[in-house]
């Protein structure tokens, strides 16, 4: 409940801010531009960047979605989407960033993120490389991040469209009416098999999405984002729904899991956890899939 109302307030502020900025962009050229990034650092740009380096797969996907493919001059080794990214020069790992490699590509903007860490971002700035950091740890922060990138690269319209889609996908998750008030308990089961079961807790997109759906994540609010929980606790909580990247048959074969209400009632659903762990535009599709899944559950 709390997190939902927070998001609404934030996105409200955002759209207000955006209208203002769009108005500005229409009347005057936005450059020279001064923007505060999501680490709270300020960056000044005199013209739209032409040589952009992306510091994470999520950043790469945002840049592509904003139609900036031609301006990307470097991506990390982990960037694998969209397929056009194959031809882009590589800068190596997300962390630690190979600063010399980054500099050698002569970027006029490094789009960094929380995964790169604060120190490398500072170091790049100290070396005179314009660096802008995103910190998309929630849907609201992701929407803000997309709009910031839009402002930085003079692609506000595309950014606004993406954010509108994201907000629509989030809104579609909200339950149609206030039901009896009892929230179905859901287990998010991540991992390759049950001997290595992980779950997504507070601070993950999966937890946030499941909460928006009006479900109760039994791995949420336990003080971790990705963690392992006790099997006995799962049995005691007895979730009515399981969202997993494993084959649902695995749960039916396990002597413990097959006792759960979720497994007995065939309420084990396969989801793509990867798309939920990457803060980028594909979360919109992932959210839409989740909304569809809700229809199946309610049947």
């Amino acid at each position: 409940m709390l997190s939902r109302s927070r998001i609404r307030i934030r996105s409200g502020q955002l759209s207000g801010m955006l209208v203002l900025l769009l108005a500005l962009a229409v009347t005057t050229s936005a450059y020279p531009l001064q923007l505060t990034d999501q680490f709270g650092r300020t960056l000044s740009l005199n013209k739209p960047p032409e040589r952009i380096i992306s510091g994470s797969p999520g950043n790469t996907e945002i840049l592509f979605a904003l139609g900036l493919a031609d301006r990307i001059v470097g991506v990390t080794d982990w960037c694998d989407y969209p397929s056009a990214v194959e031809n882009k020069p590589r800068i190596g790992n997300i962390a630690p960033l190979n600063l010399e490699r980054v500099i050698s590509l002569r970027p006029d903007l490094v789009l960094a993120c929380n995964l790169n860490g604060k120190d490398p971002v500072e170091n790049l700035s100290t070396l005179g490389i314009p660096t802008f950091a995103l910190n998309p740890v929630s849907f609201a922060a992701l929407a803000e991040a997309i709009q910031l990138v839009g402002q930085l690269t003079a692609t506000e319209t595309a950014a606004q469209q993406l954010v509108t889609e994201l907000e629509a996908a989030l809104a579609a998750l909200a339950p149609e009416e206030k039901s009896s008030g009892r929230k179905p308990k859901v287990l998010i089961a991540i991992g390759s098999d049950l001997s290595d079961l992980w779950t997504a807790g507070t601070g993950t997109f999966l937890d946030e999405a499941v909460t928006l759906l009006g479900w109760e994540n039994i791995g949420g609010g336990l003080g971790f984002s990705w963690g392992q929980i006790n099997l006995e606790y799962i049995l005691a909580e007895n979730p009515e729904l399981i969202l997993t990247e494993m084959n649902p048959a695995i749960f039916e074969q396990d002597p413990f899991f097959r006792e759960l209400t979720a497994v007995r009632g065939n309420q084990v659903f396969q989801i793509n956890v990867d798309t939920f762990s990457r803060p980028g535009p594909r979360l919109i599709e992932a959210l839409a899939d989740l909304a569809l899944l809700r229809e199946q559950v309610q049947k």
């Binding site: 790992n93 099997l231 006995e232």
Partner: protein, 316 residues
């Protein structure tokens, strides 16, 4: 010894009653399952692994006549970690006797590392233990570096491996108990049969030799037995520090250095310590499980220092 056995029984009963699922007599089928198929194998496995680590500690401390020797000096744990890492990274779908690839590869890695150290240690005859200790450190460092190298290129799997390396029993089932039981039984019996020779070694290698002990042969046997114990322990629980070092020292404070009593008493003490640690690990932050290896070192470290300060002489 009687006290330890009693303590173990009490701790086991308490551990069986603790957990998120409340047990009420008469037990419903779920409660029965939780008690018999989750908590019981976990309690048994924790005791078995604790005992194995403690006995290994006794064997190594006796063999190397070095109070710092513990189950990991022979590179066993880093070998196991490498094996587990390879299993996870290659997504191996190997299954044997109800066990998945990770414990099996960990076991293989542990044996491989120990065999390597043992092979290198054979170069000398009289100074074999020293060479073996040094070889153990080198092999350890090498295998750890290989593990780090593999992980560096597959950072998304890092959490899995790191958590596994911290040790724990969150997936303890009867299959794990069955797998290591035969190895542990044989190794325990062998260890007990070493008691007399280990006592001779307390007098020094030369004395022991004069008294008719074939030191080099005996050393090999002990190393072999100990590595089976560690490999079995590591394969089901990851690496758990401090039990192997602390348990024997604790017991020695109370009953002295005679290996005939030291070995079984250390086994009991190690089992008890690890059972208590694991029960804490799964209950203090429930439902989040703490890695038991972190807990043993967190509690074991300061406790050991306290003992060390209190009775410096007794530890020699």
């Amino acid at each position: 010894m009687v006290g330890l056995s009693l303590g173990l029984v009490v701790a086991a009963v308490v551990a069986l009653c603790l957990g998120p699922v409340q047990l009420k007599v008469p037990l419903d089928p779920l409660q029965r399952k939780v008690l018999l198929d989750l908590r019981l194998p976990r309690v048994i496995l924790a005791v078995m692994v604790g005992a194995a680590l403690a006995v290994t500690g006794v064997l190594f401390q006796g063999l190397f006549r070095n109070p710092l020797a513990d189950p990991y000096v022979l590179g066993t744990s880093s070998g196991a970690a490498l094996g587990a890492t390879i299993a996870v990274l290659s997504n191996a779908s190997l299954h044997l006797g109800g066990l998945s690839a990770r414990p099996l590869c960990a076991f293989a890695g542990a044996i491989l590392a120990t065999a390597l150290v043992y092979g290198l240690g054979r170069m000398g005859n009289r100074s074999a233990p020293t060479i073996m200790l040094l070889a153990g450190i080198a092999v350890s460092a090498f295998f750890s570096a290989l593990t780090s190298l593999l992980l560096y290129f597959r950072q998304e799997e890092m959490a899995k491996i790191v958590f596994w390396m911290m040790g724990g029993f969150s997936y303890a089932r009867w299959a794990e108990v069955k797998m290591i039981l035969p190895y542990l039984l044989v190794a325990f019996l062998l260890s007990r049969s070493f008691a007399r020779q280990l006592n001779l070694l307390l007098l020094g290698e030369d004395k022991a030799h004069q008294l008719g002990l074939e030191v080099a042969v005996f050393q090999r046997r002990v190393v072999f037995t100990a590595s089976i114990l560690v490999a079995a322990a590591v394969s089901v629980s990851g690496s758990i520090g401090f039990i192997g070092m602390v348990a024997p020292h604790l017991v020695r404070l109370f009953i002295g250095p005679d290996h005939r009593y030291l070995i079984p008493a250390s086994a009991l003490a190690g089992g008890l310590l690890l059972l208590v640690a694991d029960s804490l690990a799964r209950t203090v932050l429930s439902p989040v499980e703490l890695p038991v290896g972190v807990l043993t070192s967190l509690i074991g470290g300061p406790f050991f220092l306290y003992l060390l300060k209190k009775s410096r002489r007794a530890l020699h």
